[in-house]
């Protein structure tokens, strides 16, 4: 495939992934990931591997499934009501392609989140930063093996985070 074709496919996948989160279509969202995937939001841009320290999110697929299952559970009052998000994806770039076809891509993303708690302007929050995807070629196309979200405020103190970035 041409470079332009690959870039188009990668961009579409990253945009689709963000759209599925905004739509809360978590089943379809999980299906984009490999069984051994990792969803990782480090506490420092210096972290090199998910095991090297604590993280805001450091999920295997089971935890991703439990987390998103909980978001749709009416008894999960920590997510009552469930947050609504809008992802803006920009600047998708292919940083490297391995010999086996694994693609290393990055994008800039801004996530607007709203959860109504009658706390006025605090009910809306903005997150954003550099998002890195490692995409593995599988029989059914590219699948996400790693999603790393480097928030601009990675070291910052967070209040409750219910929705994945």
């Amino acid at each position: 495939m041409s470079d332009a074709g690959l870039r188009e496919r990668v961009r579409a996948l990253i945009e689709d992934e963000a759209r599925l989160l905004d739509d809360q279509d978590f089943e379809a969202w999980l299906a984009l990931f490999t069984p051994d995937c990792r969803y990782w939001v480090p506490v420092s841009l210096d972290q090199t591997t998910p095991g090297d320290g604590v993280a805001h999110f450091n999920d295997d697929k089971q935890l991703m499934a439990a987390r998103t299952h909980r978001l749709l559970n009416p008894r999960a009052f920590g997510a009552e009501p469930s947050p609504r998000t809008a992802h803006v994806v920009s600047g998708v770039r292919i940083d490297a392609v391995d010999d086996d076809g694994t693609v290393h891509a990055s994008s800039s993303q801004i996530i607007l989140e709203y959860r109504r708690r009658d706390r006025f302007e605090e009910d809306s929050r903005v997150f954003g930063g550099r998002v890195r995807h490692v995409l593995r070629a599988t029989g059914s196309g590219l699948r996400i093996a790693l999603k790393r979200v480097d928030l601009v405020n990675a070291e910052g103190s967070m209040n409750a985070l219910a929705a994945p970035f």
């Binding site: 604590v54 089971q62 439990a66 299952h69 909980r70 008894r75 985070l161």
Partner: protein
């Protein structure tokens, strides 16, 4: 202001804290009144020993970390001789904070960004630019930063603003054994603090966190949705596919209440407490054979067996920190305002232990301390709802009477109760009233 007027009209005198704590109940204003918070900073956080840092966070001469004692900022410094000092993060000239980073190295001392006054690691004012302007006016020694009293227990550094405070070991009492529990788990005798730190906060009072962590009744309700979701995922696993450790931790909250009723809670003077461990094998095994062997080599078989056999859940060291020895996690509870609290989580490596031991600590700390942890998100929601509900005067007194008549054993320095008891909260408020009762 939250709670202000109603408190003044209906309740005990708000500036007489001893009237706000009665047997088995406290007045709601202890959570919602900004003036009470100001008194807490003055009477509790200025008198107790406050956990600040571990020595490994500042290994070399000139290294420093910035921490809080209540509302005060302090810089912990290491001087050329290796001694540790705590000095106020405040220039003695115009009051500018000297240091803007949580950790770093300042081998040339701490210089004020405003006029360049320079302070040594021990707080001594070393120099002032344009000394000639101060000729006959200013003695450098009059403007040294007054060091704060610091003491270490097995490498963990505490500070107090009270020159009269009892020695640190007396303050810790029986709880020193929970710090021993953490350090003794190291096959080299050393523990090293990870540079990666997890911070979260909530719009609520600092005491709410202390009152939640050893409350074994709330998980069955507050965290039930995570249990439901973890079970749903577990049910869908393929044959032979292992359950992830993170889900094991969520499921641990689903234990029957009788399990916790049978477990012990230990409370000690000055507001401290812990309960027996309960996450056990359903979470992660930390007795991998390589680790056990290394521990036996260090301690000998008897002590190693004792260390590995110890299973305590969180130790609450009132009013500054919460400790999980088995997963090498320490959390600082930082009161910011009466309605704003930050929790800062640190993990420790045990040099000589397999990498898996550190991974377990990281896994635990992430699950127990990330704002994104489904379990923590539920707790943060509850804290904020408690603040909302106590912000108006539908009811003035908050009961904390669960298990009031169920204590199992009381010996000097230690009381045992069922882990379902609110004895640890009553114990915190006994300490609270003690600290708050008398003006400084």
């Amino acid at each position: 202001m939250v709670g202000g007027m109603a408190t003044l009209l209906n309740s005990p005198p708000r500036l007489d804290p001893s009237a706000l704590v009665r047997p088995g109940r406290v007045h709601r204003s202890v959570y919602t009144d900004a003036e009470i918070f100001r008194l807490e900073m003055e009477r509790i956080f200025s008198r107790a020993w406050i956990y600040l840092a571990h020595e490994s966070e500042m290994p070399a001469a000139g290294d420093y970390v910035r921490r809080h004692i209540g509302s005060r900022q302090v810089i912990l410094t290491r001087d050329r001789d290796g001694a540790v000092h705590a000095i106020p993060n405040r220039c003695s000239h115009r009051g500018t904070t000297l240091c803007a980073f949580d950790r770093g190295s300042a081998p040339g001392g701490h210089s004020c960004p405003y006029h360049g006054w320079n302070f040594a690691a021990d707080g001594r004012l070393r120099g002032v630019p344009q000394r000639s302007n101060y000729e006959g006016v200013l003695e450098l020694g009059d403007y040294d930063l007054q060091p704060v009293r610091v003491a270490a227990y097995r490498g963990f550094l505490f500070g107090t603003l009270d020159a009269e405070a009892v020695p640190l070991v007396e303050f810790l009492g029986h709880m020193a054994t929970s710090i021993d529990d953490l350090v003794d788990r190291s096959p080299s005798g050393e523990v090293v603090c990870s540079p990666h730190v997890l911070r979260h906060h909530y719009r609520g009072n600092w005491k709410l966190s202390f009152e939640n962590l050893n409350d074994t009744i709330h998980p069955g309700f507050a965290h039930s949705a995570s249990v439901v979701s973890a079970k749903a995922v577990a049910a869908g696993l393929e044959e032979g596919e292992p359950l992830a450790a993170s889900l094991g931790m969520m499921l641990a909250n689903g234990k029957p209440i009788q399990f916790f009723q049978d477990l012990d809670m230990v409370t000690t003077p000055r507001g401290h407490s812990y309960i027996g461990g309960h996450m056990g094998a359903s979470y992660t095994a930390d007795t991998q054979s390589a680790y056990a062997q290394a521990l036996i080599a260090h301690h000998g078989p008897d002590k190693a067996a004792r260390v590995l056999g110890t299973d305590r859940h969180l130790m609450l060291l009132y009013p500054s920190s919460t400790w999980h020895a088995r997963y090498q996690t320490v959390r600082i509870v930082r009161p910011v305002r009466h309605d704003l609290t930050e929790i800062i989580g640190y993990t420790f490596r045990l040099p000589g232990a397999p990498e898996e031991t550190y991974r377990n600590a990281v896994e635990y700390c992430t699950g127990a301390n990330s704002a994104a942890s489904p379990v923590i998100a539920d707790d943060l929601e509850v804290y904020e709802r408690i603040m909302d509900g106590n912000g108006f005067d539908a009811r003035e007194w908050v009961p904390m009477s669960r298990g009031l008549r169920e204590d199992r054993e009381a010996v000097p320095g230690l009381t045992r109760s069922p882990a379902t008891s609110e004895a640890f909260i009553r114990n915190q408020f006994a300490a609270w009233a003690d600290y708050m009762g008398a003006a400084a």
